[in-house]
């Protein structure tokens, strides 16, 4: 029997996933700053505190490092915490617990514990919040063995991947682009999961592959729709998970299209696009390439406040159109 599908916003989808988890699993609880009566800085937890009470929707003090450690400690002792960073930038305050403790505890203890921890990071630019509230730091965490890092791009995946993360015995870091929170999309009712580690071919095509993450998936789809009018047929892969990367889907796509463009909002240098490019260069898909790999990523600068500069600091649809067209037509 197919579940009923409704239109929900991304933030509603995340909230629905958390509500399902809170209802069905007594081990699940939420922790974060102002996630109770305030409803979260981006209203993602909304009224969950009224439905599940302050002991399961915990407003913590502004203590990111300590709070993250509390979530780690709870996870290794039988609970399933969902920890919300108010902004992903504030993870910098908690890196010790994420990187040294959560990621390594199972390994250091020879498999004697698991750390079933879910952390949510509202990320990205475009809100005018300037340099300390607009970063995309997912590659930092994806560099750490022991963590899984996902970037759902649609309301459907936001719900399904959060529910998958809760079933995962290892720490899962979820980067949610703030500009996606209001985006609407089809979301089935009830419980379902979208697997971690599996990319989605958001648009099949034959002339070039665009590997995009998070909000860039939508920009890439917009660019692909525009270029379709010029007879250019782009394949858009929504990577969805950046650790572990779905090598097979990306490699197969590049073997088919012979061209690769990586699009991501995080700083281009040493980012996910570098990893994807190197992965293709090292794989059998390299022999299929008809053109050099192209990366579009964030500028090598902090995110500026001025709205025009802010837009210019990350890839926009016209940038993707220009790069994809040049890639397919063989001009750089």
């Amino acid at each position: 029997m197919d579940a009923k599908v409704r239109e929900l916003s991304y933030s509603q989808a995340v909230q629905e996933a958390m509500a399902i988890a809170l209802e069905s699993d007594p081990r699940v609880f939420l922790m974060g700053e102002d996630i109770g009566v305030y409803g979260g800085a981006f209203q993602v937890t909304g009224d969950l505190v009224e439905r599940f009470g302050p002991e399961r929707v915990i407003d913590m003090p502004i203590s990111e490092l300590g709070g993250a450690g509390v979530a780690v400690g709870a996870a290794v002792t039988g609970m399933r915490p969902i920890f919300e960073f108010q902004f992903s930038d504030f993870a910098t305050l908690a890196m010790e617990q994420i990187v040294n403790q959560a990621a390594k505890m199972r390994f250091m203890l020879g498999g004697e514990v698991s750390v079933p921890l879910v952390m949510r990071f509202p990320a990205g630019s475009g809100t005018g919040a300037a340099a300390q509230h607009s970063q995309s730091l997912e590659a930092w965490l994806a560099h750490v063995p022991g963590l899984k890092v996902i970037q759902p791009a649609t309301p459907h995946d936001a719900k399904g991947m959060l529910l998958a993360a809760l079933e995962d015995p290892d720490p899962v870091m979820i980067f949610e682009h703030k500009l996606l929170y209001k985006m609407k999309g089809a979301v089935p009712e009830g419980h379902y999961t979208v697997p971690i580690g599996k990319a989605d071919i958001a648009r099949p095509g034959k002339d070039a592959t665009i590997v995009a993450t998070s909000i860039m998936v939508h920009k890439a789809l917009e660019a692909a729709a525009a270029l379709a009018g010029e007879g250019i047929d782009l394949e858009v892969i929504d990577l969805r998970t950046i650790r572990p990367i779905d090598r097979e889907t990306v490699i197969e796509s590049v073997k088919k299209t012979s061209r690769l463009l990586c699009v991501y909002e995080a700083v281009k240098t040493l980012g996910i696009g570098a990893e994807i490019s190197a992965m293709i260069a090292e794989s059998e898909a390299f022999d299929y390439l008809d053109a050099p790999i192209v990366r579009l990523g964030g500028a090598d600068s902090p995110i500026p406040y001025n709205p025009d500069l802010e837009k210019a600091a990350v890839p926009q649809v016209p940038d993707i159109i220009a790069s994809a067209r040049a890639l397919v037509q063989g001009r750089r």
């Binding site: 300590g66 290794v76 250091m108």
Partner: protein, 342 residues
């Protein structure tokens, strides 16, 4: 109250806590574990010198009474988080020395299957959630474990060991505050051995008594002689009972001293030989405890000799077990990074 009862009560008041609270058998068991910790660390140090153990280690020789006194009131399923100087905590909470040696030797029979070594020694089945290579790294984790205990209503108490160095980390402040506002069943234990690596508490810490910091978190704070088993056990019992009653956390500062350097790289240039010798001669926790046990007729010289002999045999067997245990295969290098890769 009758005259006899009054006299008995007055007499009891002069008897240290441990000699009122524990049976002679239990007290002899404590002495056994004190020697076990000491000899384990001497054995580990000797094996390191012989090249059988690589890396580094942080010895707690001189601090044994603190580990044992704190763990005295704990039940088997109560939990602890420990520190880089955590061998004593691990043994005090119930670990076996053979599997600890095996871990130090990097063998598959070790508590962490050779992946953790001295700095990450743990025994989860006995309630030790692990030593920690990061100063103050275990403090919030202990608070999380206590939050679990409260949410699961399982009656567990969590003891969080850390050193004087950790009390200046932000994690200390954040953790004690959260434990206090949520009234969690956790006991914070600052083992103040006077030095964070080379930096004395006088140079690093604004307050003279670290326990005074408890006032900032509206929790009880006591400073005790960390080399006096009975004094530590009494403070721990008070704090553990309070935690178990659901009245919230406490902070205990055990003042102690490490006879050895911070780690194997330490040249002891920040303290005098005289200071070290004075602590060894006058305030060694094992000597103090043995004298007390004899004073109250719990054990005699022959009994002490028997404890020492039993410990020596246990240590020798443990080292042998470690030497003859198999090492992990290189192909198993990615095991335990993720749960499915096992």
């Amino acid at each position: 109250m009758s005259a006899t009862a009054k006299k008995a009560a007055a007499g009891a008041a002069n008897v240290p806590f441990a000699f009122r609270a524990y049976t002679p058998d239990q007290l002899r068991g404590v002495l056994h574990k004190m020697h076990l910790i000491r000899k384990f660390e001497e054995g580990a140090e000797d094996s390191y010198t012989r090249g059988l153990i690589h890396g580094t280690m942080h010895l707690s020789i001189g601090q044994e009474a603190s580990a044992l006194g704190i763990c005295a009131p704990l039940k088997a399923d109560d939990q602890i988080t420990s520190t880089h100087r955590g061998h004593g905590h691990c043994i005090a909470k119930g670990a076996q020395v053979d599997r600890m040696f095996a871990e130090f030797f990097g063998k598959t029979t070790g508590y962490c299957k050779g992946r953790g070594g001295s700095m990450h020694i743990a025994d989860v089945s006995a309630g030790n959630l692990g030593a920690n290579g990061i100063v103050a790294g275990g403090i919030p984790i202990a608070v999380g474990a206590a939050l679990s205990a409260k949410m699961q209503k399982n009656g567990k108490v969590v003891v969080c060991f850390f050193g004087d160095g950790a009390n200046n980390e932000g994690a200390f402040h954040e953790s004690l505050n959260m434990a206090a506002i949520w009234k969690l069943p956790v006991v914070f234990v600052c083992e103040n051995n006077g030095y964070g690596m080379s930096t004395s508490t006088a140079r690093s810490t604004a307050v003279e008594r670290i326990a005074d910091r408890a006032a900032a978190y509206a929790m009880p704070g006591v400073t005790v002689n960390g080399n006096d088993f009975s004094a530590v056990a009494e403070a721990s019992t008070t704090a553990v009972e309070r935690a178990r009653r659901g009245e919230g956390p406490s902070l205990i500062e055990t003042k102690t001293y490490r006879h050895r350097g911070h780690s194997k790289s330490d040249r002891n240039r920040y303290r005098t030989k005289e200071e070290i010798e004075e602590w060894k001669a006058m305030r060694d926790p094992i000597n103090l405890f043995e004298a007390e046990l004899q004073q109250f007729g719990v054990i005699d010289e022959a009994g002490i000799a028997a404890v020492r002999a039993a410990v020596e045999a246990e240590i020798a067997a443990g080292i042998e077990f470690a030497k003859t245990s198999p090492a992990p295969a290189a192909a198993e290098g990615l095991n335990f990074v993720y749960t499915e890769l096992q």
